[in-house]
């Protein structure tokens, strides 16, 4: 529709900054968020538009800053465990896992095998929940409200499974340093299978209504393309990278927990547009369904779930530092933990994939986008603001 090469606009000043003169009347500042249906979580984007074209976007975060990294510095190693999950609401378990694994590594704890199976199970369950929320959001950003209703329903079935396994629906607080809190409840696998079947059936409907949908395709195919070359410079991981054809997945690259024992192929795409990313996530969700079935079939029936811990009230860990990562639904999730021999972490740094995706990458991608595509574009990066500001 634009006749000129839009990539030339807005023009740059000799020093490289954008040449935007707000007083010229050609431009308009437009805030999307922090309260806006087209925003993910507690975040705001400040758009400068020229007509309906975005010429500059800035991400604003900090609406949910709780300073977890700092708070952990005055909590004992066990006391940190209940707060880490709060760093990411829709998929909290990665925080629990990465934190626990980092502590275990520095404390030299060997986690029982059974705990590793249950941890993997929980992480895949969390991934399903996260993707289900994403699908609803991605469709919703383009006006397809019904998808969100369906995925919320099946997500609730998964929350029921979480509740019976962990004792809580959202913040599970189940993976603690040393292992997990308990074994699977009686008859869990059967109820899980029913939930998985319901999820598969719903996903069939989602595929028909969302993915084989002329309107959805029109709005997403070829829109919001991530160039493969950006993957490293913008620190892109997860489905955002895989949809660009970069087969990057910690589960394969640096297998952790029991992933080496599971049989699976990476899900990748090639078009790297919004549609491709949505499709990669839909297929990755189905992969998780398959992985959960594998886990429940292969996991041992009995075994310890916790390593022997020292008295957690005065647990000290020798000086050291490490980085532990996992592949969450949005990409690489990691904890950088520094200990100094005391009973408290010296420093915890949480590396959430949204950090680079929703700031550096998004600000790059939004330039020259149409205002109406901004919401879909942002959702397609699948970002959760709390993990940015921690």
């Amino acid at each position: 529709m634009f006749e000129l090469d839009r990539s030339q606009y807005p023009q740059k000043k000799p020093d490289g900054t954008l040449d935007i003169d707000l007083s010229s009347g050609k431009y308009l500042k437009l805030w999307q968020g922090p309260q806006h249906p087209g925003i993910t979580g507690n975040m705001a984007i400040e758009l400068t538009v020229c007509g309906d074209e975005v010429v500059e976007g800035k991400t604003h975060v900090g609406y949910l800053h709780r300073g977890f990294e700092k708070l952990m510095e005055r909590r004992t190693f066990m006391q940190c465990f209940p707060i880490v999950c709060r760093i990411c609401v829709p998929e909290p378990d990665f925080n629990e896992y990465c934190y626990a694994a980092a502590v275990e590594e520095l404390a030299g704890l060997e986690v029982p095998e059974m705990a590793n199976w249950i941890r993997t199970l929980i992480l895949e369950m969390g991934r399903i929940n996260s993707y289900l929320m994403y699908l609803g959001g991605q469709a919703g950003a383009l006006g397809l409200g019904v998808i969100g209703q369906w995925t919320t329903y099946v997500r609730d079935l998964m929350l029921d499974r979480f509740e019976e396994l962990t004792g809580a629906r959202i913040y599970h607080m189940f993976i603690l340093p040393g292992g997990v809190r308990d074994r699977l409840p009686e008859g869990f696998a059967g109820r899980m299978e029913k939930a998985l079947q319901e999820i598969e059936s719903t996903l069939g409907d989602v595929e028909k209504v969302m993915f084989h949908n002329a309107v959805f395709k029109k709005r997403t195919v070829g829109v919001g393309v991530i160039e493969a070359g950006w993957v490293d410079s913008y620190g892109i991981t997860g489905p955002n990278a895989r949809a660009a054809g970069v087969a990057k997945d910690v589960r394969k690259d640096q297998p952790y927990l029991v992933y080496p024992e599971l049989d699976f192929e990476l899900v990748t795409g090639k078009d790297s547009d919004i549609y491709a990313r949505a499709d990669v996530r839909r297929r990755d969700l189905l992969l998780s369904v398959d992985l959960i079935r594998q886990i429940l079939a292969k996991m041992p029936k009995t075994g310890e779930v916790m390593a022997k811990l020292p008295n957690v009230l005065h647990w000290k860990i020798p000086r050291g530092e490490t980085y532990v990562r996992g592949e969450c639904s949005r990409g690489e999730y990691g904890y950088y933990l520094v200990t100094d021999g005391s009973g408290y972490p010296r420093r915890v740094n949480v590396r959430g994939p949204s950090y680079t995706h929703s700031i550096a990458l998004f600000e790059r991608m939004v330039i020259n986008a149409n205002i109406s595509d901004v919401a879909a574009l942002l959702v397609s990066l699948h970002t959760y603001p709390p993990e940015i500001e921690r």
Binding site: V61, G62, H65, G67, E69, K70, L71, E73, R74, E105, D232, S233, Y234, G235, T237, K248, D253, Q254, G320, E321, T322, Y323, R325, E332, G334, Y336, V338, R346, R347, N349, R351, Y355, T356, I359, A360, L361, R364, E389
Partner: protein, 180 residues
């Protein structure tokens, strides 16, 4: 072994500090601040460490130093290397690497805000990132006391009070009474 080999290779080109091999695919290397930029570029362009995983700081208050940790990942080889740079706390300044990784600008903005570490030349460094209207010392420094801040800023629900078991027993059972 692998990480040691990498260290030895790098050592031929750059003066390096201490090596800490944490796992067979993760090592930390201490480097001088002035060596960092060329080393990062070399690792990115010639050793396959093309992914900047994170950039963060650790406050060693008692040593008067900040530790900057640049964590790089080589996906093909499944290796991570963390570069540790110690900079003085009283002159917290470091060369910007935003031209190596555009994403680094965000990390540097955050470090500037939370730790008060300056990265001259990094884009939008002065803009508020997470905190709005913050005064006082950068809050992620060790000398910022979160508990004191919380006590000044927030109040407890009325009626909160607690007793120490040992003190309470002393008062109830012996104390000045001479005997149990």
């Amino acid at each position: 072994m692998v990480m040691q080999a990498l260290y030895d290779t790098l050592k031929q080109r750059f003066p390096l500090g201490e090596l800490t091999v944490q796992r067979d695919n993760l090592a930390f290397i201490t480097v001088e601040a002035v060596r960092l930029y060329p080393l990062l570029r070399y690792l990115r362009d010639h050793e396959g460490f093309s992914h900047l995983v994170l950039l963060t700081a650790v406050d060693w208050l008692e040593d008067g130093q900040f530790q900057l940790t640049y964590l790089l990942n080589n996906r093909a080889k499944c290796q991570d290397v963390g570069l540790r740079v110690m900079i003085p706390r009283d002159k917290p300044e470091m060369e910007s690497i935003h031209d190596l990784w555009p994403a680094a600008a965000t990390y540097q903005r955050e470090l500037r805000e939370m730790f008060g570490i300056d990265f001259p030349g990094s884009p939008r460094l002065e803009e508020e990132f997470i905190l709005e209207g913050w005064h006082g010392i950068p809050p992620y420094r060790r000398d910022f006391d979160t508990l004191a801040y919380a006590r000044e800023t927030f109040r407890d629900r009325p009626g909160r009070e607690t007793r120490d078991p040992a003190q309470h027993m002393k008062q109830q059972l012996y104390g000045d009474k001479g005997d149990v």
